[in-house]
């Protein structure tokens, strides 16, 4: 289908119109005099880096956050949206980045919670089936949510919104949890909705998606509108320039020179200690010095369990299931594995990779407690401070200084600090989980380049990520994790996104229960 043919009438009266919306938080103006017009039936991208103010703006539109200044018009009439309930009454609906579903309830029960009593009657399952059929969103109303994949849960959220027949649908970073195939299916649904006259506000920082899907884009940078364009007429590079105000750096690759195995996982079995977790089954993988190996997969397929087993946060029963630099490390703790040359960048930055309340100097000490920063059991405070200052300077971390609390940093800056801290320890094996998740474009490029430089310096690097494009960009070999099992790692040049997506999705599909099961 041609997107251009479906472009809405540019002269049409905006369905939703914002003028001069401003909202300040202590120390930062999240939205600074923002103007935005959403026309009927258009897919309108709101594009910006993390921290650019996209989420705040959507929360203002949806009535969760009140603006300090500015006006809003709905169908040409001035409105003040004081609560999400009022937003829903007007015809606004929002699919959040993080879902709010009750795992122990069925799809229909979850949806009924969001509806008025009149709509949530016995006819609801039929309505759900009707809507899901119309938009190609396969969904069984009687299924329990805890058995569903993330992609299916997102469908529940979307169907919940569609049942309200919204006139503006807000989607906040909807593709971050989907396989490539699921992304295409979602786009079909969104296009169909737009054809029927529903306006869609599409929040994202993924430029290719916006170019493929959206009719118009409003670009935000540091809380201000820096541009408006037709993304179909732009290139990824021009969009990136509008978004970050600079050219997007490209990582430099050298051909890999793989050395001796540095991290060997051999037939690792591990039961999850979380009842809804994933049990790992005979996972085997070798990462050699001087190569980057990636593990792709939709989150919740055993990545968390595998990473805690590799880092030593959880020990495994068999000593030689994990061999680190020639030492059987299965039963060693995290500190012992670090002394063997392991460094680890975890997915959660605040609370795991860094202590929020502590200063950067103290956080520099966190994983470097025995590397020159300690003298006879006493902390060398000045050495810790200069270590932190070194990381801040070499990674251009935006922070007040080594004394700044970790929680005062933005996500991207804290991630740079953590990556810098781990690399500065001179690891022989580096494991990075979602290294650029929620990190702005500039910092992402910096982190990817650092991983590549590390590889070129002969370090074995293992990257676990949901972002397939990132993995294909930086990795030498790729494996896919699905339902606790790992596919054999294959050279990236011999594979492609489609094939990997099938591996991810093939196992992400859950067995469909019969209609009778789960119905009370």
């Amino acid at each position: 289908m041609s997107a251009a043919a479906l472009a809405p009438d540019v002269q049409a009266r905006p369905r939703l119109s914002l003028r001069g919306i401003t909202r300040a938080y202590p120390g930062v103006v999240a939205n600074d005099r923002i103007d935005l017009d959403v026309l009927p039936g258009e897919i309108h991208a709101v594009l910006g880096e993390n921290g650019a103010g996209k989420s705040t703006l959507m929360k203002i539109i949806y009535g969760i956050v009140k603006p300090d200044a500015g006006t809003m018009q709905w169908e040409g009439e001035a409105v003040r949206i004081a609560s999400p309930a009022q937003a829903r009454r007007l015809g606004l609906a929002m699919v959040f980045q993080h879902f709010s579903l009750f795992e122990t309830l069925t799809v229909a029960e979850n949806i009924s919670l969001a509806l008025d009593a009149a709509e949530a009657g016995p006819g609801l399952p039929a309505k759900i089936r009707d809507v899901s059929r119309r938009y190609g969103l396969t969904l069984d109303p009687a299924r329990l949510v805890h058995a569903m994949s993330i992609g299916e849960r997102q469908r529940v959220e979307i169907v919940r919104c569609l049942l309200q027949a919204p006139r503006v649908l807000i989607m906040d970073e909807p593709t971050s949890v989907l396989t490539p195939q699921a992304v295409l299916r979602l786009f079909d649904t969104l296009r169909q909705l737009a054809d029927e006259g529903c306006s869609i506000l599409y929040i994202s920082h993924k430029l290719d998606e916006i170019r493929a899907l959206c009719h118009r884009a409003t670009v935000l940078r540091a809380g201000r509108v820096t541009g408006e364009c037709d993304p179909r007429r732009e290139t990824t590079a021009t969009l990136a320039r509008m978004m970050i105000g600079a050219e997007l750096p490209h990582p430099r690759h050298r051909p890999p020179v793989a050395g001796a195995p540095a991290l060997v996982i051999d037939g690792l079995d591990l039961r999850s200690d979380d009842p809804f977790g994933t049990t790992l089954r005979s996972i085997s993988l070798t990462v050699c010095a001087g190569e980057i190996v990636g593990i792709a997969g939709v989150s919740g397929n055993g990545q968390r369990e595998l990473l805690t087993a590799l880092s030593g946060e959880r020990r495994v029963a068999r000593r030689d299931a994990i061999v680190l630099c020639g030492t059987a490390a299965g039963r060693l703790g995290a500190a012992q594995r670090r002394s063997l040359g392991l460094a680890f960048v975890p997915e959660e930055r605040l609370g795991r990779g860094a202590v929020p309340e502590m200063s950067l100097a103290e956080n520099a000490l966190l994983t470097a407690r025995h590397r020159g920063l300690v003298w006879h059991g006493l902390i060398r405070a000045d050495a810790a401070r200069s270590r932190a200052a070194e990381i801040i300077a070499s990674w251009s971390v935006k922070a007040a200084g080594p004394g700044a609390a970790a929680r005062s940093l933005s996500g991207g800056n804290l991630q740079k600090f953590i990556v810098g801290r781990e690399i500065l320890q001179g690891p022989r094996v580096l494991i990075a989980a979602q290294p650029t998740w929620g990190v702005d474009v500039g910092a992402s490029a910096q982190i990817r380049q650092a991983l590549i430089d590390l590889r070129d310096a002969g370090v074995a690097v293992l990257v676990v990520s949901e972002e397939l494009e990132e993995l294909i960009e930086i990795c030498d070999r790729l494996a896919v994790i699905a339902q606790g099992q790992l596919s054999p790692a294959r050279p990236v040049v011999e594979t492609n996104a489609e094939e990997l997506g099938l591996l991810m999705a093939g196992s992400a599909a859950m067995p469909e229960p019969t209609a009778a099961r789960g119905r009370a």
Partner: protein
């Protein structure tokens, strides 16, 4: 229009100083109303609470005497609390310390052991026995994951019964007319007096020395750092390979050692013998002291002085104004309540929010 709490980006230094002032003013306001309602002159009541106890040299001595065990125990507990190790049983560890130190004093008896030898031996023995008592909870926690909150609390009653058995039985003073009490300690086993005309003894110096050591441990040592990490962000501690078992052991043993020394100080200080009850609940009051002092050694010194003043002021108000003891308890509770409530302002600020969004 309504008032909302808004998180501060950094803890406010001004609020750290102002919060206790604000809490004091609020307490005085509530106290004013309560005392007025009871028909007592509020000014006289405040005088009895805050001024009279420290108006004399003897009073100041009593203030410091009561503050010493509180700051000592609270400091030890704070080491564990920083790592989320919840030792509630300091009262029992204090009792064990008193038993060990007192037992040594009784065993030395009239053997003319010099004080310079006997007192340090009593203190070491008290610390070791307090630690041993705390070690039971630490072991149950690390081996069986039994909550140290429950086990340490239950061991308080075991400790009290142990002391009771000793002084009703083997250690009872044969010349004591069958009263459940031990012999009086000899002078060699008593802590030297610090201030003539008062009961203040060298226990205060021991407490202050321990506070300084605790500050060094928490701020400067790697183990102290690891315990702070474990308390603030348990996942970060696991990620960094910090041993949670070592933290439990360190936290429990620090509390046990301090409480044990406090027990020796009570036995060899104001009491001078072993009695069925060695403390008016210092081990439990120290928990409050630790939190009012924000788990910081310097804060704990101030908090212990405040707590001690509340003890003395409560007695003075009962004696001088015939106030019921429940009212003094209520007044003390009000002050602690406001102190902890005012702490919110350190990390949050009040913001007046309009009910409607502003229009341009």
């Amino acid at each position: 229009m309504r008032i909302a709490l808004e998180a501060r980006r950094e803890a406010s230094r001004a609020a750290i100083v102002l919060a206790p002032v604000l809490a004091t003013l609020a307490t005085l306001a509530v106290g004013f109303v309560v005392f007025e309602a009871l028909g007592k002159d509020p000014i006289a009541a405040f005088h009895a609470f805050f001024i009279q106890p420290v108006a004399t040299r003897y009073g100041v001595g009593e203030l410091l005497l009561k503050a010493s065990p509180l700051m000592l125990i609270a400091t030890g507990l704070a080491v564990g609390y920083r790592a989320n190790v919840w030792n509630i049983g300091a009262e029992g560890q204090l009792t064990l310390g008193a038993i060990a130190g007192g037992g040594l004093a009784l065993a030395a008896g009239d053997a003319r052991v010099p004080s310079a030898l006997l007192l340090p031996a009593m203190i070491v023995a008290g610390a070791l026995c307090g630690m041993a008592w705390a070690a039971i909870s630490a072991w149950l926690r690390t081996r069986f994951n039994a909550s140290e909150i429950l086990t340490s609390l239950m061991l308080v009653y075991v400790a009290n019964l142990l002391l009771s058995w000793l002084i009703h039985g083997p250690w009872r003073d044969p010349d004591g007319y069958n009263f459940p009490q031990s012999k009086q300690f000899t002078d060699a086993a008593l802590l030297p007096n610090l201030l003539s005309g008062t009961r203040l003894n060298a226990g205060l110096l021991i407490a202050l020395a321990v506070v300084a050591m605790a500050w060094l441990f928490i701020r400067r040592s790697v183990w102290g750092f690891e315990m702070r990490v474990a308390g603030l962000a348990p996942s970060a501690a696991a990620y960094a390979g910090i041993s949670s078992k070592r933290n439990v052991w360190l936290g429990m043993l620090a509390g046990g050692a301090c409480a044990g020394i406090a027990g020796v100080n009570e036995a060899a200080g104001p009491i001078g013998q072993l009695l069925p009850s060695m403390s008016p609940g210092y081990g439990f009051a120290a928990i409050i002291v630790a939190f009012v002092g924000r788990l910081h050694p310097a804060g704990i010194v101030f908090a212990s002085l405040l707590m001690s003043l509340l003890y003395l002021g409560g007695e003075s108000a009962q004696v001088n104004l015939a106030l019921p003891s429940a009212v003094t308890g209520l007044f003390q509770g009000t002050l602690l309540f406001f102190l902890l409530a005012a702490d919110v302002l350190v990390n949050y600020r009040l913001r007046v929010v309009g009910a409607r969004p502003a229009t341009p």
